[in-house]
């Protein structure tokens, strides 16, 4: 069928040609041999057959060419589109011997194009992955709290995160591609970056602790500098990570001071106890009255030491459990009345008059009853300690509904606090110098009050004082709506 189909046109052509020639031959033979008529008709028929053969040949050739061109066009169209084209190429090759080599070449090109398409597709996917990873890393760098800066091998700024902008005081949109000495004002950091870049990629990352004065306050940074490697181990730039250690240093310093203060405060009564015992053992006192005084002093100093340790433990306990405190509506008027009952005997023994102006009990604050009692008691005990006999103490509890706060105020007519000591009285272990002899103390009472009021209850503590006239300690807590 294929053979017939393939050669059908050729057969038709041969039949027409043979018919044409037969007609011509018949006309010639008939005329020459028999001188018969019909010569012209037969010649005409033969010529017509030959002309028909010619036209048919032309038409067949043209048709074949057209089909080949159509296949090639179709193939090219498919090449232009993103479609597999192997099946069409095979058909095309079978259909046209003329276009065969061309179609084969096109097949190769198509195959190569297909491979290129696949490679391009993989490349696109890889590019998208790389781009997503780059954006992710950039987002991470932008969101880290440490300042991250990247410079080029020409010491130009190429990347900085928000922390770096804030810390080093520049705006990345204006600073990108500018030299670091134009945008980083701390000369020491600029020199560190330049030195790291000069040292090259073979050096280990550098870690440097750097202190500077950031406008208002001293800051300490731990700076990590790493040279970034380019192709063939060349220097591509420098990455700088600045970790702000100011707060860590403050905490560290605070701990050192705390230990120093604790040891000092504990050693003082211990020194007295040790000295008094040694005196007794050495027989430096022999009369019973002095001996008894010595024992009493040892006892009171031991008691002082005990109180101090209790205070330290109490602060430590409250600070470590502050997140477990449950605040409930409490009437401060009830709290004050409770505290007044406890401290009344002390006040009476010093002939100190306590007057009170208390808000109605329905004004309540969210508080831990025991802790807020402790805070008020500390304030009242201090007032009694530093008020000479015959003085006055006033306790006020007032509700300010407009501001939504309840204020508690403890005023005394005591010795007061000098202006230069006011800012220090809430520091742990600080004891006012001027009237230290008036009373014993650990220097932990007021820090505890401040911690209870501000950290645990979210209130605000304040103090006003005038030397020799008295002090007023007050705090405010949010009213329960």
């Amino acid at each position: 069928m294929t053979l017939v189909g393939r050669y059908r046109l050729e057969w038709i052509l041969i039949v027409i040609l043979v018919t044409g020639f037969a007609c011509l031959m018949f006309a010639v033979m008939n005329s020459a041999l028999y001188g018969g008529g019909g010569y012209m008709e037969m010649v005409g028929l033969g010529v017509m057959a030959l002309m028909l053969a010619l036209v048919f040949t032309q038409w067949s050739h043209r048709r074949s060419m057209q089909r080949t061109l159509n296949y090639i066009q179709m193939q090219l169209e498919q090449l232009g589109q993103d479609k597999p084209s192997g099946r069409v190429l095979v058909d095309t090759a079978e259909n046209s011997e003329i276009a065969g080599p061309l179609v084969q070449s096109l097949g190769l090109i198509s195959k190569q194009l297909e491979e290129l398409r696949q490679a391009n597709h993989s490349l696109n996917i890889n590019c998208q992955i790389a781009d997503a990873q780059r954006r992710q890393i950039e987002q991470i760098l932008l969101s880290v709290s440490d300042a991250v800066v990247v410079t080029s091998r020409f010491d130009e700024l190429t990347f900085a995160n928000e922390s770096a902008e804030r810390l080093l005081g520049f705006n990345l949109s204006n600073a990108r591609r500018k030299n670091i000495d134009e945008i980083i004002h701390d000369g020491a950091i600029v020199r560190l970056i330049q030195d790291t870049r000069r040292m090259g990629v073979n050096h280990q990352p550098r870690i440097v602790e750097h202190s500077c004065n950031n406008g208002r306050e001293a800051c300490t940074f731990r700076i990590m500098l790493r040279c970034l490697a380019g192709p063939n181990k060349t220097t591509a730039g420098v990455m700088i990570v600045l970790h702000d250690m100011t707060r860590e240093k403050e905490i560290e310093q605070g701990k050192i001071e705390f230990v120093s203060n604790v040891s000092h405060e504990l050693k003082t009564p211990l020194a007295s106890i040790k000295a008094y015992i040694e005196m007794l053992l050495d027989g430096e006192v022999d009369d019973p009255k002095s001996t008894r005084e010595f024992y009493e002093t040892i006892s009171s100093e031991a008691e002082r030491l005990h109180r101090m340790i209790e205070r330290i433990l109490s602060i430590s306990r409250i600070e470590s459990n502050s997140d477990k405190v449950v605040l409930e509506p409490v009437s401060m008027t009830a709290v004050i009345k409770q505290v007044l009952k406890i401290i009344a005997p002390k006040a009476k023994s010093k002939e100190i008059c306590i007057s009170e102006h208390l808000a109605p009990v329905y004004f309540q604050v969210n508080a831990d009853y025991d802790l807020i009692c402790q805070a008020v008691q500390n304030l009242m005990v201090n007032a009694i300690k530093y008020t000479p006999a015959g003085g006055n103490i006033t306790v006020d509890v007032a509700a300010d509904e407009r501001r939504g706060v309840l204020s508690v105020e403890v005023s005394d007519t005591g010795v007061g606090i000098p202006a230069d000591e006011l800012s220090k009285i809430f520091e742990k272990f600080y004891r006012g110098r001027s009237h230290r002899a008036m009373a014993t103390g650990s220097g932990l009472g007021l820090p505890l009050v401040q911690y209870i009021v501000e950290t645990i209850h979210g209130g605000k503590m304040s103090v006003t004082s005038e030397a020799d006239k008295g002090s007023t300690f007050s705090f405010e807590l949010p009213l329960v709506a």
Partner: protein, 141 residues
Amino acid sequence: MEKKLKKILVVDDEPCILHILALKLRNAGYTVITAADGEEGLELSLSEGPDLIIADYQMPYMDGLQLCSEHRRRGGMPVPAMLITARDFDIDDKMAEKSGISVVLAKPFSPQQVVEIAQDLMSEHHYGGNVLAGVKCNNEK
């Protein structure tokens, strides 16, 4: 007999320490004058001309180091001085020497040790020619 003439100024804001040191030194035969803070101590050191100053480091108004350096700055006799402190780690030797401190004694201390050091400081060896021995921290007892 000679040591009874020696006068020692003891300055401490802790009444117990002041009391015990005064008693121990008096029992050892010295004349003792006392002050409860740095300023009062400075006044006494300048007016009374003691042979030795024993001062607490941390005191109201003026600490022991300031007291000793002020004593010298205001023309007081360059007498030896002993600093008693619970913060011995806070005190730099050079700073102490500059203030005229001969010995830094850490709390808690032995009263007998104080007497021995006082005796030593007021001997010819230390007290002779205005040149004080280097600061020594004495708390081995």
